[in-house]
């Protein structure tokens, strides 16, 4: 500290001799140390609370229930042989793929509709459509639960009022699966909308004018200009959303808690039930580690895209 202030002080008083003390090279070295120091909290946080726990999870998953003995891959083998866990794998994939597809589709449509509206109005509509994404997910899911409530459902009241039969929204396997997907779509579509809207805005207007002069129809403009220009954002948003949706917890936990008959459990909620609620830490760890290969693959593609892009920017 004292050294630093010395150098700074000598700058103000224009005395030539002590100046040479703070040589540029030394300064450069000190700069590198400072740079590393500024990153230290981040590195510490990431290593101790993200990287280390990941490896620790692998270690835990190899133990027996009482965490005394190594049992190798027994936890994994046991899980794979259980029909209820096979259902979890099925439901997780179904949930992630369907929900992401719906979110991407609705987000794409919304972005196009919004793109037609310019100026102040767009801000207001965007604000209204972003509401689902702004409310804390656990609270809005709670509201959905109340909407789906078997005896007080406002949705069923409306169906009956319109002359339809009431639906047990969370009562049967497939209804519950659809409900969970619907809530996730409701929550996530606005995110896709703003990403796609930003992508649409970044397509130069002249391209459309050139295409119009070349005689392209609206459909052809979409196929030959909009989609190729948006390709990157569509891809990265879908990949990112697949990761988040695949690892989702809140909706299923609150809406169905895995029911009926464990048919809506995702990896995350199942791991919670097994690991925290039933106290079988090693098996819970194995459940969530089943996500790792899928997540790693998706992350690889996201990262490849991001790195490629940042390289393009820098050149």
């Amino acid at each position: 500290m004292a050294d630093g202030t010395m150098v700074m002080g000598s700058g103000a008083a224009t005395s030539p001799a002590p100046r040479r003390v703070g040589s540029l090279k030394k300064l450069g070295r000190r700069r590198a140390t400072t740079a590393l120091l500024l990153c230290a909290p981040l590195i510490l946080l990431v290593i101790s609370l993200k990287i280390y726990p990941t490896f620790y999870a692998v270690f835990l998953s190899l133990l027996d229930r009482k965490m005394n003995e190594f049992v190798g891959l027994d936890n994994y083998i046991f899980l794979l042989s259980r029909p209820s866990f096979q259902l979890v794998i099925f439901q997780s994939c179904l949930f992630a793929l369907t929900a992401v597809m719906l979110k991407a589709l609705i987000g794409f449509i919304l972005a196009h509709l919004m793109h037609n509206i310019r100026g102040r109005n767009q801000r207001i509509w965007r604000g209204l459509l972003l509401v689902p994404w702004v409310i804390p997910l656990s609270l809005s899911t709670l509201t959905w639960w109340w909407l789906f409530d078997p005896s007080y459902s406002a949705l069923n009241w409306t169906l009956e009022w319109l002359g339809f039969d009431p639906i047990p929204f969370l009562g049967t396997t497939w209804n519950a699966r659809i409900a969970v997907i619907a809530v996730n779509t409701w929550f996530g579509a606005p995110f896709f909308m703003i990403m796609y809207l930003a992508a649409l805005k970044s397509v130069p207007e002249q391209l459309y004018e050139a295409a119009a002069i070349d005689g392209a129809s609206a459909w052809q403009k979409l196929i030959y200009i909009t989609l190729p220009m948006m390709r990157n954002i569509i891809l990265i948003t879908v990949l990112y959303s697949l990761i988040v949706t695949f690892a989702d917890f809140d909706i299923v936990r609150i809406l169905t808690n895995g029911g009926p008959q464990d048919s809506t459990h995702l990896f995350a909620t199942y791991a919670f039930t097994v690991g925290i609620q039933s106290g079988n830490i090693p098996r819970g760890a194995s459940v969530s580690l089943f996500m790792l290969p899928v997540l790693a693959t998706l992350a690889f593609f996201v990262l490849r895209d991001v790195l490629k892009r940042s390289k393009e920017i820098s050149t």
Binding site: R31, A32, T34, A35, L38, C39, P41, L45, L49, K50, Y52, P53, T54, A57, L60, L110, L113, M114, N116, I117, R123, R126, L128, L129, L130, V131, V134, P136, L137, S138, L139, S140, L142, T143, W146, L147, S151, Y152, A154, W157, W186, P190, M195, A198, T237, A247, F249, D250, A268, F272, G275, I281, S288, L292, L295, L298, V302, L303, S310, I313
Partner: protein, 297 residues
């Protein structure tokens, strides 16, 4: 009006006004379709508010249209405001979120400044690594973390959230800030360097003010995480006095008593209000921060 007049008057030149007319129909169609979406999207928040205005008696009576509060009352809100438990959840959420935002932003800004400007060996690796950890979801880590925080004696202690929430917020905040800092022209720090500024002064007097939109965006993100995260508090906090809003409402207010729904929805309204208010005023910054990284290049 003019375009229709032209069309009626000059049938051979039918296509003159067609593009404009097409656009006008496209606009009307867009508004119509968007209205449908807005109605669907706003059903839950609308119903949340309506229910919060109903008395328990009105809910249990189950008569007539459930979408409208026939006898709007603020008794649910009044109950919550004076309720010790709810006060505690809310207070816990406030201080945890405040600390998480301050902590996360400090870590993120320092690291982003270093990674984007003070380039040293391995800074590229670190930036990439940070982005990668952003892709590691909390549901992958909550079980090993249960053991880790357990060994630290932090189970059922609200402070555990101050320790863990930054792991959710910091990587993305750093990523946003790297983007904003990198977009500041290098000449600006060189000018400041020649003007006599030291590195801390460059960060405080140049970078932070210039990248303020990015800082707002990252702060909102950190706030969203601190205020809304559900899994960690659910897994690590089990007693009511340590709980935060999300977990408190979901776990403690639901006691199998259907007639408490008015209170529960009122609590949800109060829990959703801070983010809604913040987004109302600062949405533009957040959207810009979120999409900046994705659309450049």
């Amino acid at each position: 009006m003019t375009s229709t007049a032209t069309m009626a008057g000059a049938p051979p030149r039918k296509k003159v006004g067609s593009l404009e007319r097409q656009n006008r129909w496209a606009l009307r169609g867009s508004y119509a379709a968007l209205s449908v979406f807005v109605v669907i999207f706003l059903v839950p928040p609308f119903y949340m508010i309506m229910t919060s205005l109903k008395s328990s008696a009105e809910i249990s009576a189950q008569q007539g249209n459930p979408w409208i509060a026939r006898d709007p009352t603020l008794e649910n809100f009044a109950y919550l405001v004076s309720n010790d438990q709810f006060q505690r959840y809310f207070f816990n959420s406030v201080w945890v979120t405040a600390l998480v935002v301050i902590l996360s932003m400090t870590i993120a800004i320092l690291a982003a400044f270093s990674l984007s400007r003070m380039g040293f060996k391995g800074s590229q690796v670190i930036s990439t690594g940070v982005f990668l950890t952003y892709l590691v979801p909390p549901s992958l880590l909550f079980i090993p973390l249960f053991q880790i925080v357990g060994s630290l004696g932090l189970i059922n202690n609200t402070w555990v959230l101050v320790l863990l929430f930054p792991t959710l917020a910091v990587p993305f905040c750093t990523w946003i800030m790297i983007g904003y800092f990198s977009s500041i022209p290098r000449e600006l720090d060189e000018a400041a360097l020649i003007d006599g500024a030291s590195y801390p002064q460059i960060l405080l007097k140049i970078f932070i003010p210039v990248a303020l939109p990015g800082i707002i965006a990252a702060t909102i993100f950190a706030f969203t995480v601190g205020w809304g995260a559900f899994l960690y508090p659910l897994a690590y906090l089990y007693s009511a006095d340590q709980a935060v809003l999300t977990v408190g409402i979901v776990r403690e207010l639901i006691r199998g008593d259907v007639f408490a729904w008015g209170t529960i929805m009122a609590a949800c309204v109060m829990g959703a209000a801070p983010p809604i208010i913040i987004y109302t005023f600062l949405m533009d910054y957040y959207v810009a921060g979120l999409t900046a990284g994705a659309t450049k290049g």
